[in-house]
Amino acid sequence: MEIITSIKPFLAVLVSSLAVLGIIACKRPNIRETWTLGAAVLKLLIVASMLPAVLRGAEIEYTLMQVLPGVAIRFRVDAFGMLFALVASSLWIITSIYSIGYMRSLKEHSQTRYFCFFALSLSATIGVAFSANLLTLYLFYEMLSLATYPLVTHHQDAQARSSGRKYLLYIVGSSIGLVLPAMVITYHLTGTLSFAGGGIMAQAASPTLLTILFFLFLFGFAKAAVMPMHSWLPAAMVAPTPVSALLHAVAVVKVGVFCVVRVITKVFGSDCFGGLHLSPVVCFVASVTIIAASFIALSQDGLKRRLAFSTIGQLSYIILGVALLSPLGMTGGMLHIAMHAFGKITLFFCAGAIFVATGRKNISEMAGIGKRMPITMAAFFIGAMSVIGLPPCGGFISKWYLVLGALEADQIPMLIVLLTSSLLNAAYFLPIVYKAFFCSPEKSLFENKVEEAPLWCLVPLCFTAIASFALFFFPQPFLTLAKIAVKSITGGP
């Protein structure tokens, strides 16, 4: 596996931070928006330019600065990192277009600050994707938490204040309180923090210490929203919808899961992780999260809160997939990052479009909305199908691999969990679609003329819907990347 050293990974991280200067500098909104879009496109181009090398099996590395003995701020682009970065940067372009429409139509205040911190959080996300060791990962993880705080609390009202406080308490508190000691102990035990193919913890210490260490990591990365550390996610729904769309469906939460997967595969290594008999325990925790989150989602009336709980459930799919330690399960888990991203972002875009067009937030008020906003609700339906995992949409493939993985690791209970949760997904998504199209609105509040969301919101909406549809037929870049990643981890053929 050849190592190419080039500055591209660092450039990919840097490009959106530099865009921040451009956004602050110019006063007129249109130029400011072009800066954001330009940065987004540039970022995608840089990431895509590294794709062929990674597909060939190579890894691109760049060392920025040696900071601690044996540990440097170093970037290494491997298949798994590339998969996540590709998803994040491509969706950033779409979300920028969407947020221009959303912010302009709602005439939100201090948009410059919004776009700056948005760009910063994206550079942090890509930074996490490309980090080569735990320290760089922790650095960008913290930067992401701090960059998203002003976004979550954008409305600056009392509710934003309390949910912002909860957001910080969970995320920054757990990262300093749990991840930092875990990193220090790992550094003490192994002398290094960098991710090695087979994991660095092989024979480091007693099994009990290693288990404690693992749970410190698992619950430390609160962004993965594993059950006890999940309640910041519904609270963060107070943010404007593009923020919850990109960050709380794609970037922030996936970073948490990404870190957990990195810890399982690259820090502990699959054989040491297996040896510690942790796999059933983690699977149990993940499945509890899946089932509980799906049940709570059933009872949520707010559309965004329901989507939030569904995200918590879907995230634990990925942890479950990887924790099964079977190659197919891992591929499914990693693929689910991409599939769920496209599906869930469509749903959030629809929620935002409904709010922009009609100002409605709760599902109970959305009876018969399909007649008035057919395109949005159609996209909502496609997104829902992808998240549930029905065949014509991309979500089906990742769930298919997950099921195969569960069978391969002959974990029958996990299989049952996967299937029941898919049913629960259907249970809380399909009624919305049914009520939107087939029920007639009791109150004739709505004049029956078609009143869609502004074009700026609608186009990205349809694009992501079509994308999640197309992923079913050509899952190519993500599937191969996932396969390469799994091959490098399990050292298989």
Binding site: M65, V67, L139, Q156, L168, G173, V184
Partner: protein
């Protein structure tokens, strides 16, 4: 010329101080430029000295030409060359930033303020560089005396708190003097290196033990180590903002440097860590200091009083790091000493700038709620404050994280998990403290305040000559974060004597 650097560091500011006082009677405008010039020269020579030490090892400069045990030598090795540069850099940056606030607070005593300022820095610089124990006491007295005066001129009950500071400070200095006297009684010499060579013969005598106890207690008093920190909060809250952003970052740090110098170079590690078993007790004490300092900071309403209690907690970091007794712990302590000076300077400069622009509701003390809406009105000052806050919390790219990292790994290797727990607890409390302020600054509307009602609508961005040094320090925090490894491998690694495991 370069061979005279050690003397230049002290002589130039000393002569400048006397010159400023005489000139202040003739033409008050000249005082500030002379002060800046003198500190700039000494900063340059301090950097030159650091360069000399890095290239060809420790430098010894004999005062009056007499060989060490008889005359007073300067012994500049890796440890104090680094601290010296920090002391002068902090002093110079603060001097550049405090011109307007000095002109506003003491319009007719500018000359004497700058004289005291330069004498304070000379005292600290001399203390860092000297190789003679008694000379260290004399320089300690100059620094404390000028410190008492600078603090005494504040608003509110500054005089009373400065008087309390005098009593506690004099007890501390007298204990240190007593310790040196006992050492002299047993070894017959006052030179640090000389005592260290004679001491092994008399390690078992009770006099050396008592000398150790009194020296360390005296220094604990002077550095406001937790149980003996009573004087610090009042003194640091009521002091004038120009003076406190000089005193806060430097006094406690140089006192900790003196403790490191004495524990590692005078009593040599074989005695401090080997013969005495006081190390683990002191680590427990510093863990307590960290926890109590952070808790007390939580309960404060005024911004400066909160920062003062954070300093008390930071002192716990460094003492704990030193007394862990292993290489990471001591590297962490020395690195934290350097980082913390910069962080405290950044935060106190920002507080001073805020104090300069916002009229506080309670006389003299800027309450936290006065910061309402400061993000919109004073974005750059608050940006610098946030960077300082993140560094104190320990967020990676900033330097605070890396020194905390060394302290944590030192605690893990030494098996002191209570120190590790205390460090993490204090970081979490810092998160709450600083985000409480950011929240107030972010959410509040400028110009409206429920209870006092008078609007501060005129609050606008600080003048440029206060802002540039502040942003310079904030950027410095980032730079020090990135260059941590160079500082550690090229300088701090050599500063630790052989006896450490």
């Amino acid at each position: 010329m370069s061979q005279q650097f050690p003397a230049l560091i002290i002589i130039v500011p000393l002569l400048a101080a006397f010159f400023i006082f005489t000139v202040s009677w003739i033409n008050r405008k000249l005082c500030f430029p002379i002060a800046v010039l003198s500190l700039a020269i000494s900063l340059v020579s301090a950097m030159g000295l650091l360069g000399m030490v890095l290239s060809n090892g420790p430098v010894e400069y004999r005062m009056g030409g007499w060989p060490p045990p008889w005359g007073i030598p300067y012994y500049v090795d890796y440890l104090n060359a680094l601290v010296l540069v920090v002391v002068y850099a902090v002093a110079l940056i603060n001097l550049l930033a405090c011109r307007q606030s000095v002109r506003r607070e003491f319009p007719d005593k500018i000359g004497s303020f700058f004289t005291l300022y330069v004498l304070f820095v000379t005292g600290l610089g001399g203390m860092v560089v000297t190789g003679d124990a008694f000379n260290l006491y004399v320089l300690l007295e100059i620094a404390s005396l000028t410190g008492y005066a600078l603090i005494g001129m504040g608003k509110g009950d500054a005089a009373l708190s400065s008087l309390n500071y005098i009593f506690m400070g004099t007890i501390g200095a007298s204990f240190y003097l007593l310790g040196i006297g006992y050492l002299y009684l047993v070894t017959g010499s006052l030179n640090i290196a000389d005592i260290a060579s004679i001491l092994p013969g008399v390690y078992d005598s009770k006099v050396v033990l008592v000398a150790f106890i009194f020296c360390i207690t005296g220094l604990f008093l002077k550095m406001a180590f937790f149980p003996l920190h009573g004087w610090l909060p009042n003194a640091y809250t009521n002091a004038p903002s120009a003076a406190i952003s000089l005193i806060a970052p430097l006094t406690t740090k140089v006192m900790i440097y003196v403790m490191i110098r004495i524990v590692l170079y005078l009593f040599t590690p074989s005695f401090s860590f080997g013969a005495l078993h006081v190390g683990s007790v002191l680590v427990w004490l510093s863990a307590g200091a960290i926890v109590m300092g952070s808790l007390l900071a939580l309960g404060q309403k005024s911004l400066k009083r909160m920062l003062a209690y954070i300093i008390v907690a930071e002192v716990g970091y460094m003492t704990g790091g030193l007394w862990l007794g292993n290489t990471e712990g001591i590297t962490g302590a020395i690195l934290h000493l350097v980082n913390d000076a910069a962080m405290t300077l950044c935060v106190f400069l920002a507080a001073g700038t805020l104090m300069f622009k916002i009229k506080p509701s309670v006389a003299g003390e800027l309450q936290l709620d006065d910061l309402a809406g400061s993000f919109t009105k004073m974005p750059y000052t608050m940006a610098a404050f946030v960077m300082g806050a993140l560094s104190i919390i320990g967020v990676p790219p900033f330097c605070g994280f890396f020194s905390k990292w060394y302290l944590l790994s030192g605690a893990v290797t030494a098996g002191h998990y209570e120190f590790l727990a205390a460090l993490l607890f204090s970081s979490l409390v810092n998160v709450v403290l600083f985000f409480r302020i950011i929240e107030i600054g972010y959410y509040g509307k400028p110009g409206h305040r429920a209870e006092s009602g008078h609007s501060i609508a005129h609050m606008d961005e600080a003048p440029l000559d206060m802002l540039i040094p502040l942003l310079l320090v904030a950027a410095g925090l980032l730079a020090m974060g990135f260059y941590t490894d160079d500082i550690v491998t090229h300088v701090i690694r050599f500063a630790i004597p052989a006896g450490i495991v």
